[in-house]
Point group: C2
Chain length 339, copies 2
Amino acid sequence: MPATIKDIRNETGLSLATISKYLNGGNVLPKNKEKIEAAVEKLHYQVNEIARGLVTNSTRTVGVCVFDVTDVFTGIILHEIGLQLSKLGYGMLIADASNDHKREERNVRFLVNKKVDGIISLPVAGSSDVLEPAFTAGIPVVLLDRQYRDRSLDSITINNRQAAAGAVNYLIKNGHKKIAVICARQEYTGRERYEGFMSAMEEAGLPVPKEYVFDGTHSMEHGYSSTLKLLKLKDRPTALLSSNYGINLGVVMALNEAQISYPEDISVVGFDNLLLSNVLKTELTVIEQPMERFGQKGVEILMQRINEKKENNGILENDGHINIVLSTVMHMGKSVKKI
Amino acid sequence: MPATIKDIRNETGLSLATISKYLNGGNVLPKNKEKIEAAVEKLHYQVNEIARGLVTNSTRTVGVCVFDVTDVFTGIILHEIGLQLSKLGYGMLIADASNDHKREERNVRFLVNKKVDGIISLPVAGSSDVLEPAFTAGIPVVLLDRQYRDRSLDSITINNRQAAAGAVNYLIKNGHKKIAVICARQEYTGRERYEGFMSAMEEAGLPVPKEYVFDGTHSMEHGYSSTLKLLKLKDRPTALLSSNYGINLGVVMALNEAQISYPEDISVVGFDNLLLSNVLKTELTVIEQPMERFGQKGVEILMQRINEKKENNGILENDGHINIVLSTVMHMGKSVKKI
DNA sequence: CTGTTAGCGCTTTCAC
DNA sequence: GTGAAAGCGCTAACAG
């Protein structure tokens, strides 16, 4: 139904090769150029990327595996990846694992069959085995946000431990000694941040009673219920660290509802500076992750790998990996009081 | 590099036709079946979907055009679309327009070139012209959430006017006469909801002073600032309608901060029942959209079109369109007081 | 600069 | 049930 390059040939009388060459940016005589353009216009010709892909062995498509599309963080990163990719004329095939390891496995296989040129993965926690099909097919993979413990791969991450420890030290510097943490140890970033918190406390010689550790999921619900519990402790902490954006939201809502003001009654440091800050009466002090940089760097490294592979006759070298650790900044709000 | 069907031939001694047939579910002798399976296993053979697509003229991929990937609503719908599609063995190529009409146009062209079997679009407001390349290529399109004013297409929507009017009537039934609206007339759904609000008020013979209409964007910020302004009005309304989830969030935060309780001091009805309700002290009364149904129905209708086209020798019929209007339900929270 | 030819990996008649 | 051969739409040598 749609016009093919042969239709252009019939229209212009030129050969397939010439037409193809022009379509790919080659030089042809001005009059031929005009002929082709006219025919393209007339027939509404659009390249068949599928056919092109079959011969060039490149689909100009990258697969993006995400642990959960409904997550705000994921949305922002996808946005940036899409932006970068579209600048390069690449598309993205998105596969959502819905936090399910089994589905992630199927997704990878699916993307491999689709012959994507590379894969960017925001992985569900677990083993890197799910990526096996990509490895055997020689498809470059870049990890975003999370890493695997069992294998080294190209990755873009932040130093979650360091960031959390920095937040704790900031609280300590402001005179706080009784600091609670609302976290999610079952998740990769959650665990790292929890450990950063603990080591900073330990280093400072400060005790962390176990009722100061609220372990759950990275969700608004967890932040909310934990904060309410925290406020009821006989020995209430003077400060708290929230290990994720969803938790921030829950914390703030709970504090508002309980009419506990911050930083007057309790100091708060959170993670991620999304919608929240411009809306709150008291701006939250948070560790900011460079969300856009995740996407940018991810695409950059992946493209580097894709090009390396191309220059290497389609064989993916496997000597060493690039691990980019993006730096976080502490966004100074007004939610920490000096005591 | 990866194994092809020819490698399987060399391994098994069978012909390409037989192997292909088996791989596509055809009948072969048991012993041949075993041979093929063994070879597939040994060589890690994976079908090349690109090559297959070239001959079957179907990519088993649908393009999803979204106005903004970072939107919560979009995330949920993508999640559902992905789920349905993966059940059918289809993938989704996502293209994000970032609310930019120009980018949306490029996205459609891109998807068309990628030979997607169909397109699901959550369109940026504007003209349906952006879809022209899909029409000329005979690619079925289904609209989700929004419709165009200038052309009739297959679509899944809710009746935004009716839903908003229903909310207003509910407030009126509870004795409210002074009702404000926080809305976004520049957006499709926002305008529809605003109009539903106005017509219900008019029908009830209730005046709507212009300071009761807070027009802006569908965002937390708008909900927040509008609520603060609203609270300062000399003649404060007894109830307010929020036309979107982001606005709900802003409204609740502003009320909390201003220590205005609802429904005691003001009644609130909002749109969409996301995270919020399980976290708030006072549950919000909201119009619930059947988010998952959007995705399910969208995929269903699109598949129907794709199959029709296949049975019709690859030609897309164009007689009449399917418009599915999903029903909303009013989720009864406790944010409306009888006065 | 242009055209001829081969072939990417697969499916699909059509004989056998 | 199986195999030979043609061809999907395009690009990539290679001659001319």
